[in-house]
Symmetry: C2
Subunit: 302 residues, 2 copies
DNA sequence: CGAATACGTAAGCTGAACTGATGCTTGACG
DNA sequence: CGTCAAGCATCAGTTCAGCTTACGTATTCG
């Protein structure tokens, strides 16, 4: 019978890529991880990983074993959820992660409601980019997280995670009011200066991709992750940028917002099997309620 | 994250009933099992078991946790199966359990075929009553086993085990040729002396139940588990008994066999998730082939 | 009302597993 | 092409989880 802790290391290795990263995620030394994975292979009697340059990659058998590990870990997570439910009385710590604009708009009312309804719950919020969410959930640095993707840059679901849809919003092109646009809004700003997110973030990726679809490479002038900053820059005539509906506060002067066909889809994610955990379920419910009460119309899937 | 070894102890406790039995099954001392279960409860933060007289019983939460444990263990079993398949070349030990009459008729040809086709396979056969099979499979004393039940005494499937149907046979009432029977064969022997299996075995239970359905309690004279012995006793005029089709060798003189509506159903059982194990799959295939080649007509389910 | 059975606790010991040090290979950079 | 850093493996040393043994307590049975 294979050891679950070792299977977990193997699974994390398949996502993180290096033994050093796995070690850091588990607060072990790389040596310990290396020894445990060696022991796993010895027990399995098959090669599960092989050196590839100065890193290691999983063999096909290793990858197959990872898929089994996901099932095992999801079942253990579900077991955890049932004992938590049996413990009764929502208590303990829930660590929630979200992207910046969601913290202000969605998470805040949900937090207030959760704190009011379940005073024994310790709520911790972390602001982080959606691309970092899967690792954070897997490594148990987060329990619940808001993630999003764009229809033109879909993110394939992670086998270790489960999620439910929350929002579906329009993405706007923010341009200075002096600009006159005709026809396809994207094509009319092909020569403008662009304000995009930091490289490596999803916002950055989606802007580049949208421009690519419109047939040009944007001239990147400014990098800004905070959408209110983006709007301020646009109002100051510093360029154009993409802004999702949720990030729009009160209407800003000097900025024209042109709706695009691009849509941003927000989901609530958690570890496979954790959906039955009472604290997770309560958080999901509170977030859905907050989304429902959001000003303006947002459609959410089931 | 709950410990799998401890969950396994909890699951085994739910089947075996006492900590002492669990300890014996794992070749631990009762003290070790007690300590581990205490640690599991401490970790869970809920009562999982409670004293009931001088034994312990599971709380509803404990039972719920057992169901999760079954899932976890099945997934680990499946993981084991894939590494075994990746190891390639059928090898290792397969411990097969069967009830006595199956050993002679079904298992023998299957063993010969398996040994011929996969010489690296170490085959071990154990003869045991079907009622002992689930525990033996769970405790890993067996890997594959033939079990049966009767339509009038159905055995509910064990959540820790998986199985495929193999045979479906007629059960005969064996009576001396001197006896003249008319009408319902069971009612005609209500006053006869009965030859039944040892108490605690399935054969014993089914005979009593069949008589009960016919409206009487049998006068038990002899106990015999070997059906050839039963037939010899019947031929010697010592009484009557139930004999399934598979147990009938060459026709015996002095014995009349009256077919009843009772049917005995034989299945191949193994641990949940072990179906993908190459050695288990090969054993199942060999047993099904042996059943197909059996003289006489036997119908097997899918 | 002993005797046996079953579970729990305390003390002690063994081995699994982690840390830290060392060495080897690979890839990047000047 | 030499140097350096990154990354993994191995070895020795140490710690702690978990086992056994011994003993105590509660319950059932004869």
């Amino acid at each position: 019978m294979l050891d679950v802790r070792r299977l977990r290391l193997l699974r994390d290795l398949s996502h993180l890529g290096t033994i050093a990263a796995v070690a850091e995620a588990h607060t072990y030394t790389p040596s310990a991880v290396s020894q445990q994975l060696a022991a796993l292979q010895r027990q399995a009697g098959v090669a599960l990983l092989e050196r590839a340059g100065r890193r290691v990659t999983l063999t096909p058998t290793g990858e197959a074993l990872v898929r089994h590990a996901e099932v095992v870990l999801a079942a253990l997570e579900a077991a955890d959820a049932t004992v938590a439910a049996a413990r009764g009385g929502l208590s303990g710590t829930v660590r929630i992660g979200a992207y910046p604009s969601a913290v202000r708009t969605l998470l805040l009312p949900a937090l207030v409601a959760l704190g009011r309804d379940h005073p024994a719950l310790d709520l911790m919020v972390t602001e982080l980019d959606p691309v970092a969410v899967p690792d954070a959930l897997r490594d148990r640095r987060l329990d619940v997280a808001l993630v999003h993707d764009y229809d033109i840059v879909p993110v394939e679901p992670d086998p270790a995670l489960d999620s439910v849809p929350l929002l579906d919003e329009t993405v706007y092109l923010a341009v200075g009011t002096d600009r006159h646009h005709t026809g396809d809004p994207m094509r009319s700003v092909r020569d403008a200066d662009w304000i995009v997110g930091s490289p490596g973030t999803l916002c950055h990726a989606v802007t580049l991709h949208a421009c690519e679809l419109a047939g040009f490479r944007p001239t990147v002038r400014h990098h800004a992750d905070d959408f209110t900053a983006v709007l301020a820059l646009v109002a100051a005539g510093q360029g154009v940028g993409l802004v999702p509906q949720l990030a729009l506060g009160r209407p800003s002067t000097g900025v024209a917002l042109v709706p695009l066909t691009i849509r941003r889809r927000t989901r609530i994610a958690y570890r496979q099997g954790a959906g039955g955990h009472p604290a997770v379920a309560a958080s999901v419910a509170a977030l859905r309620a907050a989304a429902r009460d959001l000003p303006g119309e947002h459609s959410a899937g089931s």
